[in-house]
């Protein structure tokens, strides 16, 4: 499903953000990507949705490969993904509903099917009552939920979530986490970058830990027993 093979990503100014990273996330799996701030979590996700290309190594996602995919294939890949960005990335001049519908329209979905699907996911994230509000009229947590609804509305095969609960309180966090687990239960693989260790500990999922761009723990490899480095 998602396979990193010896992936290195170097930036001119800051050097290597990822160094020789290899891991594999299987179809339908629920996986955590953890690590301190600046460890390379966001960079790893950006490689998956082809916002960046690796300096060395290969990333394969659902039949696409960074080694072969041309620019025309990027949109095709992204339609199969659902992405929740660390900084929401909502359009300020569209309402919550329009922001979610946007992701469907872009894929050329039939018009009559858009509204019901949008309202269903907005209901799932608890925002049915605020469908007509603009981002600036929503609290930070509410904006994050709109972003999650948008990522979910496409029925993606993989959902990438970059700290989806960073701005949420405990109760909302549990709600969103439950939502992600439900999405996963329906067959969608989920890759969630987070530093909420309470969440990580609460679930027996695939866990990958990064430290300064290197994989220091991978529960799939070290099933034998090495413990995560962070407490």
């Amino acid at each position: 499903m998602i396979k990193f093979t010896g992936v290195t990503k170097e930036y001119l100014k800051t050097g290597a953000a990822l160094k020789q990273v290899s891991f594999h996330i299987a179809r339908g799996q629920f996986a955590f990507l953890t690590g301190h701030s600046g460890a390379g979590k966001t960079t790893a996700l950006r490689l998956i949705y082809l916002a960046e290309r690796p300096t060395a190594g290969e990333v394969r996602v659902s039949g696409f490969s960074t080694a072969r995919a041309g620019p025309r294939e990027i949109p095709r890949l992204r339609r199969r993904l659902g992405i929740v960005f660390q900084d929401f990335q909502l359009l300020e001049d569209r309402t919550a509903e329009e922001n979610v519908a946007f992701a469907l329209e872009v894929t050329g979905a039939r018009h009559t099917t858009i509204r019901p699907r949008v309202m269903r996911v907005l209901t799932q994230v608890g925002l049915a009552g605020k469908a007509n509000q603009y981002p600036r009229e929503l609290s930070g947590g509410e904006q994050q939920r709109v972003a999650i609804a948008r990522a979910r509305v496409n029925d993606p095969v993989v959902l990438l979530a970059d700290e989806p609960t960073g701005n949420l309180d405990e109760r909302a966090t549990r709600g969103i986490f439950q939502l992600l687990k439900d999405i996963n239960a329906s067959g969608t693989a989920v890759l969630m970058a987070t530093h909420d260790l309470d969440l990580v500990r609460s679930m027996d999922a695939h866990l990958i830990e990064l430290q300064q761009g290197e994989v220091v723990y991978d529960s799939a490899e070290d099933a034998a027993g090495r413990q995560p480095v962070a407490p």
């Binding site: 001049d93 872009v106 050329g108």
Partner: protein, 285 residues
């Protein structure tokens, strides 16, 4: 398609000021073209009128019999360059001089003998109304036995030629300058609209929109604004024409085909402008 239309409508609704200003800019650019186009159309017409009058005059020897004149006229009429030949007798020449040269009326009034010679006035076909052709015809006429002297208003014909050349040169220079202005302005407008929506474009890409999909509403927007601008420009030009025609001098307006071409040019400019701007933006990000 309905999404494209909706997106375009949204673009107008969300940035009414920006959109209105794009249209205005395109309209004014085309209006500038229109003004110069009108000048060109009217100069062309004026040149046509003046060119009508280019003729070669062969003054006849005194006392040439009428029969010989008629024969010569028939010969001349057979020249490929010649449209028509008119025989002006000595009396007609004097009458014409009295009529045309009113400042010197008195002189002609007081004359005891008629000093003016009879002539054959030769009109050339439109395609042959230039200096070289007129000179060639004049030469052949001068060779005829009954002809005393030939005049073809060399200076006047040369002046006309120069006027045509000047009009052409001014039209080309000013036209090119304004074409550049229009393209720069339209490019800027659409480029800024693109910049204004660059965040939206980035997000569209992140959720899987193809470049074609992203481009479409901009192109449609560009075409629509261009067409609207073209219609406005034709309207403005008509207003300018009507004012000039009413208060200054009789002028002609564009034909329906020319006006339609102007509107279409607006659409085309809008399309090209947005294609270039959006294309560059998509490649650069």
């Amino acid at each position: 398609m309905s999404l494209v239309l909706r997106e375009t409508a949204l673009a107008f609704r969300r940035a009414p000021l920006l959109s209105a200003l794009s249209v205005t800019t395109i309209a004014f650019s085309l209006f500038v073209f229109g003004l110069f186009g009108l000048v060109a159309v009217n100069i062309q017409r004026a040149i046509g009128n003046v060119a009508e009058r280019v003729e070669v005059v062969a003054y006849l020897k005194r006392g040439t019999p009428l029969q010989a004149v008629a024969l010569a006229a028939a010969d001349i009429e057979a020249f490929p360059e010649v449209e028509s030949v008119q025989h002006v007798t000595e009396q007609e020449a004097l009458a014409r001089a009295r009529r045309d040269l009113r400042e010197f009326q008195d002189i002609f009034q007081d004359l005891e003998t008629n000093p003016l010679p009879a002539s054959l006035d030769v009109r050339l076909r439109p395609a042959f109304r230039d200096v070289q052709r007129a000179a060639a015809v004049a030469e052949r006429l001068a060779a005829l036995a009954i002809v005393d002297d030939v005049r073809y208003g060399r200076e006047w014909v040369e002046k006309l030629d120069r006027l045509r050349n000047i009009a052409g040169a001014v039209g080309t220079v000013v036209g090119a300058a304004f074409a550049l202005v229009a393209i720069i302005i339209i490019g800027t407008t659409i480029r800024m609209a693109v910049l204004h929506r660059s965040r939206e474009i980035a997000i569209m890409r992140l959720v899987g929109a193809t470049d074609g999909f992203i481009r479409r509403p901009f192109l449609l927007e560009g075409i629509l604004k261009g067409l609207l601008g073209g219609v406005l420009a034709v309207g403005l030009s008509y207003g300018g024409y009507a004012l000039i025609d009413a208060y200054l001098l009789r002028a002609s307006f564009f034909t329906a085909a020319q006006a339609t071409l102007g509107v279409a040019a607006g659409g085309f400019i809008g399309l090209v402008g947005s294609l270039v701007s959006v294309g560059r933006h998509l490649r650069s990000t």
